[in-house]
């Protein structure tokens, strides 16, 4: 079981990690402590490894800052489920090995603080109000995610996954 952290539409990367707390500004070992600093001040101190972020449309829009995703990685976020994702945020999650899944119904089923289970094998997010369906990722992205991210994938295989 994991806690669901619920967000709305158009959650931008300045909310996930404000630019003024970039690792570049605060140091590589501290930046993650500012995750959701303005939007959800309690997040960084109460989030647990495996917790799941659930959002609406266009999750992670705005800046290309990968450190927003890196901060989630440091906190051990188990996955991000949203109606849709901003493209750079989506790539950054795949690259850093955080499951990033589209779901048409998760945002409607989940309330903030719910106990949820992210079942990647079944493609479901189980919630107190029923199971949300997760849209399967392209095989290319799945292979990178399964390896734990693009760096691990490239180290193991020397090149990108083959295209179909």
């Amino acid at each position: 079981m994991a806690r669901a952290w619920k967000f709305g539409d158009d959650l931008d990367t300045d909310q996930i990690l404000p630019g003024r707390y970039a690792p570049f500004m605060t140091g590589q070992d501290k930046f993650h402590a500012y995750a959701f600093h303005d939007a959800r001040p309690e997040f960084a101190t109460t989030v647990k490894p495996g917790d799941v972020l659930v959002g609406g449309d266009n999750f992670g829009c705005g800046s290309s800052r990968e450190y927003a995703v890196a901060a989630l990685k440091v906190h051990g976020i188990g996955g991000v489920v949203a109606k849709s994702f901003a493209r750079i945020f989506f790539r950054n999650c795949i690259n850093l090995g955080i499951p990033v899944l589209e779901s048409a119904d998760a945002a409607d089923l989940v309330a903030d603080g719910d106990d949820v289970t992210l079942d990647l094998v079944a493609g479901r997010l189980r919630t107190p109000c029923g199971a949300a369906t997760l849209r399967p990722l392209p095989r290319f992205a799945q292979e990178i995610l399964s390896a734990g991210g693009v760096v691990s994938y490239l180290r193991a295989h020397g090149d990108f996954p083959a295209l179909d």
Binding site: F7, G8, D9, D10, L11, D12, D14, Q15, P18, G19, R20, A22, P23, F24, M25, T26, G27, Q28, F36, D38, A39, R40, G55, G56, D57, N58, C61, G62, S63, S64, R65, E66, Y67, V69, A70, S84, A86, R87, I88, R91, N92, N95, L96, D112, P138, F140, G149, V150, V151, L154, R155, D159, F160, L163, D164
Partner: protein, 460 residues
């Protein structure tokens, strides 16, 4: 079906396969752009990949612009590490603090070959579409991979066609035109898509950067201006290419536009926010920090001082723009008017350096984003407008339609300024009242307002 969009043409050519929207493609990149803000993660990524050297030292462009000159010792250390890395890698193209915003230099110094794929460590890398390149922003690990391999993977995007028709009227700019488009399409309306801008080919390069760069604010992967003077013969979309959406913008009817905080797609005619008090005006960024933008402000200031309650922060987009503005007297005119002129770079656009906003302050910015906390305090409000609107805000302390100021004779100009200054809500109460006005507008304007625009529950 053989007709192809620009994105399909460029990515087919680059990948050596006939690819269409929806296909995945692995493509060589003609350049990789890296800036100071992410260099630590990029270096860590390359190290983790086990790659010591970049794939081609001639095709990497490195910039110190995001927090430059360094505002803190931590940033200064990061810049030092970056300089050592650039030297160690023997990267030829390096622009240090004060040279300007990466995107401006990438275009004006000719690093963006039309028809090629360029990836940059910044979301506004879409700007390279101003000269017909497929420029896409990516995160640090993607950039590390591109630096190591000279290749990247992409999903070939669907395309949205923006068709401009007619002529802009005096006092209305291309910033107004693209802000209108962002308002129509929305912050996610072009997600994963390539935006093609039709009907503006011979526009000056700077205005084209404004268009392409702002395509990022619609979620676009790339934003390419069609039929630019730089484009080779093969680089134009087929007449019957397939678009997911066509957006037509009638320039003849366009009013000056303002994006109301905290959303870039919450766009209104300037008249809807006229009278809103402003504490600080920012003229700069890759969107509107060029000579033409500075000249527009000077043209409207007409030798007058800015309002006593207002600060005007000017950050030229590059050293070339700065020097051109020095040479023709524009910088002197801005300084005499009371402006602070900062070192070329990103400046306060992203709230890291040089004129960050205090709580409850209201900014009129010519840049591209007005998210909560973007330019400093999360309690500050950021309105986005054209350089003309910025000039009026600096002069009067309120947002207003710039056209009456541009058209007025000298005497009525001063009357207009005096009238507007008197109408500005008093300092202190001013900020609170203007904030209320912004909230009223959010309620009144029938466009994409979400009760969770900040990603958190709104109390009422």
């Amino acid at each position: 079906m053989t007709a192809r969009t620009l994105a399909e043409k460029i990515l087919s050519r680059a990948s050596g396969r006939d690819v269409r929207a929806g296909d995945l493609a692995i493509v060589p990149v003609s350049r990789v752009m890296v800036h100071d803000s992410v260099i630590d993660a990029v270096m860590a990524g390359m190290k983790a990949l086990g790659k010591e050297r970049v794939w081609d030292t001639e095709r990497v462009c490195v910039f110190v612009d995001h927090a430059a000159p360094a505002p803190t010792p931590v940033v200064a250390d990061s810049h030092r590490v970056l300089r050592e890395w650039v030297r160690g890698q023997r990267i030829a193209t390096f622009y240090d603090a004060g040279e300007g915003v990466c995107h401006q230099i990438m275009v004006e110094d000719g690093f963006c070959e039309p028809g090629t794929v360029i990836v940059g460590s910044d979301s506004h890398s879409n700007s390279y579409g101003s000269v017909g390149a497929f420029g896409a922003g990516m995160g640090a690990t993607d950039i590390a991979v591109a630096l190591a391999l000279g290749r990247t993977w992409l999903r070939v995007p669907e395309s949205i066609k923006v068709q401009f028709v007619g002529q802009l009227r005096p006092g209305v700019t291309w910033k107004d035109a693209i802000t209108k488009v962002v308002g129509e399409v929305g912050t996610d309306g072009a997600r994963y898509a390539c935006v093609e801008f039709h009907g503006v080919g011979s526009l000056p390069q700077g205005d084209r950067i404004t268009l392409s760069g702002m395509s990022t604010e619609m979620g676009a992967k790339a934003g390419i201006v069609v039929d630019t003077p730089e484009a080779p013969e093969w680089l134009h979309p087929d007449a019957d290419a397939s678009y997911t959406r066509v957006v037509r913008v009638d320039l003849d009817a366009l009013e000056p536009q303002v994006a109301v905080p905290p959303r870039v797609d919450q766009v209104v005619d300037v008249s809807a926010v006229a009278g809103t008090a402003v504490d600080i005006v920012f003229l700069g960024s890759c969107t509107n920090g060029r000579l033409v933008d500075m000249r527009q402000v000077v043209q409207l200031l007409r030798g007058r001082r800015i309002a006593p309650e207002v600060r005007l922060e000017v950050v030229p987009a590059s050293r070339r723009q700065f020097e051109d503005a020095l040479a023709d007297g524009t910088i002197a005119a801005l300084s005499r008017a009371g402006a602070v002129v900062g070192a070329s770079g990103c400046g306060p656009c992203l709230g890291r350096q040089g004129g960050v906003l205090a709580g409850a302050e209201i900014c009129l910015s010519t840049a591209n984003r007005n998210y909560k906390g973007r330019m400093g305090s999360p309690e500050a409000s950021i309105y986005i407008g054209s350089p003309y609107v910025a000039a009026v805000a600096a002069l009067t302390g309120v947002i207003d339609d710039p056209r009456p100021f541009l058209e007025a004779d000298e005497e009525s100009f001063d009357l207009l300024v005096a009238h507007r200054r008197r109408s500005r809500p008093a300092v202190g109460a001013a900020s609170a009242r203007a904030g209320d006005r912004a909230r009223e507008l959010v309620g009144a304007v029938p466009i994409r307002t979400s009760p969770q625009v900040f990603g958190m529950e709104v109390e009422d």
